[in-house]
Amino acid sequence: MNDIDEIVKGIYLKEPRAIGRAISIIEDGDQRAGALLKQINAKNIQESTILGITGPIGTGKSTIINQLIAHYRKQGNRVGIVAIDPSSPVSGGAFLGDRIRMMRHAMDKDVVVRSMATRGKQGGLCAAAAAAVRIMICSGCDPVIIETVGVGQAEIDVVRLADITILVLAPGVGDEIQMMKAGIIEIADIVVVNKAECPGADSLFMELENVLHQRNCTVCRVIAREAYGIEKLAVFIGVIDKERRKSGQFTNKRKQTRETEIIDYAIEMMRDELRRRLKEYPGNYTGDPRTIARKLIDDICIAELDTSKRNCPEVFL
């Protein structure tokens, strides 16, 4: 299972090994990543919906996803899940625990779950997660659900990949004010108050309705453990999806996401080149970092101009 053609074929044939390996190749920045990505241009990519589920640790995101999987499976859909947890900044390791809540689907080959760690990269994570999503869509998944812990910019970036973003809060878990400050509440299309049976859920619900009523954002109550409110949540998701596809908002957002993705890739590619050039830099680059950065960029642009001059002299000379 190493030849790229074989892996690509395997993805379309829904082979778990091929899908898993393909995602690792992208995630590890393997030299074959480019060749692989080139070949997985899903025609069905526009038809599939990408859901982003975010919120503080412990609010019940994975449990909700577990229930959503059951819902979509009942409808006959194949479902993909990319569950992202933070890497430890100290060891670089990570405990990826989302899957525990979804084990009841472990024997179902039409439920594709991949746990991912942030690995300290930002744009890079976005690229790896986006590729994982695309690979899953290629293998026939619709929807694909991305779970992230909504605390940092990296997570917001990942959620931007989603067509529809669901913020999960719960009474007494995490800091709701922090959520609002972090701006996550602003990109949410649906806010879920999970653990609705617990004390404090009603006041959290009303508070959120107050904050969100001037914006077109739905708040709903869920008890994920008992699957209460899940059907309704799925209906909300379906309505938003249908509306946006009709209005063209869906396509617009996809286009924006694509632009972001391209820029992310470009920046990642540029990073190595910049590092190389900075090492060759005369002196030990003291002084204003911004000025030096500007000069680095200018140098690259000039070098670029030089090569293009060489390539088409009649235009430039």
Partner: protein, 143 residues
């Protein structure tokens, strides 16, 4: 921030009926602190569930913890399930309360290594590192 290379991806599985996962969790945490990405299945999983999870997550090593005494059945069953799921090449490391006389036998059946409750954590970590490195060399080889 730089792109980090992770040391490896590990699945910690608990097959069978025993519900004691303190040991499994301690190993999971130690592996994380050693730079591994660790996926945990939770307790009471079937060998097939563990095998399919290992494949989906494309892990480099599977670690199994069995405290019920059923290791002679469960470890080989996981090996078989992995094999059937086309993941027979993934190294499997076992741990638990395992008598000396079972260890050799289990290794002959294809277990990469077996640890008992007395094994120092560092020895376990070193073995996971070694198994990961060996597997990754094969895994990333371009044919």
């Amino acid at each position: 921030m730089d792109i980090q290379q992770c040391r490896g991806r590990i699945l910690i599985g608990k097959p069978g009926l025993d519900g004691h996962d303190r040991g499994a969790k301690i190993i999971a945490r130690s592996l994380r602190d050693d730079g591994f990405e660790v996926i945990y299945t939770g307790i009471r999983r079937t060998p097939e569930e563990i095998a399919l999870t290992a494949i989906q997550e494309d892990v480099d090593v599977v670690g199994l913890s069995v405290l019920s005494g059923a290791h002679n059945e469960l470890f080989p069953e996981v090996l078989k399930a992995l094999h059937q799921a086309k993941g027979g090449d993934i190294p499997v490391i076992g741990g638990g309360i395992i008598p000396e006389e079972d260890i050799q036998h289990l290794k002959e059946l294809g277990m990469y290594e077996i640890f008992t409750s007395g094994t120092p954590v560092q020895t376990i970590l070193n073995t996971f590192r070694e198994a990961t490195e060996k597997y990754r060399q094969r895994k990333h080889k371009i044919i």
